[in-house]
Amino acid sequence: MNIRRRTRSRNGPRRRLCADAEEVVAAAAELGLPCAVKSQVLRGGRGKAGLVRLVKSGDEARAYGSELLGGALGAAHGVRKVLVEEAVSIDRELYLSITVDPQAATALILACADGGVEIEELARTAPEKIIRERVDIDAGLMPFQARNVAHALGLEGKLSASFVTLLSGLWKTFRDKDAELVEVNPLFVTKADEKGERALVAGDGKLVIDDNSAFRQGGAEPSREYFDSDVAYEAAKEGIPYLQFDGDISLMCAGAGLTTVVYDLVNYEGGSVANYLEFGGPNYKKAVRAMALCLVNDPKVILIVTFGTIARADVMADGIAEAIAALKPRCPIVACIRGTGEEQAVETLKAAGLEPLYDTEEAVRKAVALAKAGGRA
């Protein structure tokens, strides 16, 4: 599970959360015009999708608010609330994040004087522009390191001091929340005000919390809004890794690496995947639930591939037989179950009416052929 939360930063502009167009109009009046209207959806690239806009009048606020809250645009992207923010007069946009350097075994600050762009894109197009500062996870962020980043970003004087405060706060969040990523992008530098002062304003933020830390972070139940579909949400609640696609073949495999490779092989063979699903690991007895999550997609074929050690083949086969009996899937099932107890597994699968295979690539080819034939054996 990969929870991304939009942060509210102390450095952020004044803002109001609104649920309908009239609230948007009222907020715009309160915060002053022009102001920014931002859809609250968990996806990147909101600007490009037309989900963020600067509105300049009350009428415009009402019109755009209606489009997003109740209108077609909002409905298409699942917008339920929008944030109205005071517009800031922007001089520059910066990028800033804290993540992990696995090789050096440190935390890593990434920053760039060209903000607003995705860091992935930046790493491809202009890697030399990325400022990197390693931080020892035990000793923590030192003020001099924050100053070094500020200087590299061209921030001086009071802006440098503000940046040190901001980055120190991000560091505390990174450690306290067991984050994988803390990101502020864009980080705005405002134009000088009447007193000649500039300020840093967090334009948007992202916090990715390490799922593995749930036991000490009081890991909340995942919320529906973080998922693309009901079935993905259901799978997450059960701890079953699941991704939904719009193809024909439901994967029901064990082992993260093997499932990924089966996904590749289906694509190589010209097939298409309805869903990625792992029922290995601690979930390997959950075959009934796993198959139910596949059937939601009404696949043409279910493709089962395992080669397990701890996830025993015979136990998996028992589960699959049980699932077939309980769910009576109409589509064909291709099964290739190997590993501990595989002799017994073969007997079980045969008894359940399947023709067990022993070779992954053969199983994939068969599944693709079946899917192309419309899911009839």
Partner: protein, 298 residues
């Protein structure tokens, strides 16, 4: 010779009294591993598969010197268990734990690096030198998949490794030493850090790298080849070539982040370094034949 573990290593098992710990301790012993003692706080005085159990490593090593530790310890206690092993000067540590908090993993790797110790894992099946010794969770049906031979294997996966090694064996080869570095974003040991051992091992003629999208471990192997520090043939098999961008598919470590870690980049790096890259598991065996020119001892 073998990589990481052989019959001379004296292994402690942390978490030996648990179901998993005792089950795999028996397997390890049956496969030749010298387990000298077990550790579970509060269980001193018990005996598991003939191994005496102690409250702590410090008490265990007083009576049973050890140089390796195998952890069957839940993820949330893994950092403590690794640090306990390091504190007693144990230099070879394997942890199978799946779900170690990311920031704990950083601290584990940092501590191991600073002490010159090697931590393998978490989220791995462990390490095995077929016919000699094993630390981890490799079962008895080893012949078809982990037949002894002269091909080294390094991998981020579990089930996929069974798939690929079965193909190595089907192609007529066998495995010298296999290191499962694990599927986590911050593994205790990285592929490239094992290369000097494989380079020096007279029983390894080539190395198969089973990688996947995410991270830069595969690129680091390619760098070692380019720099000339690793000169044996390498066959690479990479999962996630068709994986959708921005989704975490598979292991926690299997995600493109910060613009790094696409399979495309990894293939380019490997090919530039002269490694053979397999598209499918079966091709690994075929490429090993190519690499050896069918001439070397299998």
């Amino acid at each position: 010779m073998s990589i990481f573990i052989d019959r001379s290593d004296r292994v402690l098992v942390q978490g030996i009294t648990g179901g998993e710990g005792s089950f795999w301790t028996k397997h390890m012993m049956d496969l030749g591993t010298r387990v000298v003692a077990g550790v579970t706080p509060g269980k001193e005085g018990q005996v598991v598969e003939g191994a005496p159990v102690y409250h702590s490593i410090r008490r265990a090593v007083t009576e049973n010197p050890a140089n390796a530790a195998m952890l069957f310890v839940p993820p949330r206690f893994t950092k403590d268990a690794v640090f306990e092993a390091l504190d007693s000067g144990i230099g070879k540590i394997v942890t199978i734990a799946d779900g170690i908090p990311l920031q704990d993993a950083i601290q584990i790797r940092k501590a191991a690096l600073s002490q010159g110790a090697r931590v393998v894992g978490g989220n791995t099946s462990g390490v095995i030198s077929p016919g000699l010794a094993m630390m981890g969770m490799f079962p008895y049906w080893i012949d078809r998949v982990y037949k002894p031979g002269r091909v080294g294997v390094m991998t981020r996966s579990g089930s996929l490794t069974n798939e690929v090694t079965a193909m190595i064996v089907r192609a007529g080869f066998g495995v010298s030493s296999l290191i499962g570095v694990g599927g986590d974003p911050v593994p205790g040991t990285r592929f490239a850090e094992m290369l000097p051992d494989y380079q020096a091992d007279p029983d390894t003629d080539a190395v198969v790298v089973i990688g996947e999208l995410g991270g830069t471990m595969e690129e680091e192997v390619a760098e070692a080849m380019l720099s000339g520090s690793f000169t044996k043939p390498v066959v690479a098999f990479l999962g996630g070539r068709t994986a959708p961008a921005g989704k975490r598919m598979g292991h926690a470590g299997a995600i493109v982040s910060g613009g790094k870690g696409s399979v495309k980049d990894k293939i380019e790096a490997f090919e530039k370094a002269g490694a053979l890259v397999a598209d499918r598991p079966r091709m690994v065996g075929e490429l090993l034949r190519t690499a050896f020119g069918r001439t070397l001892n299998r």
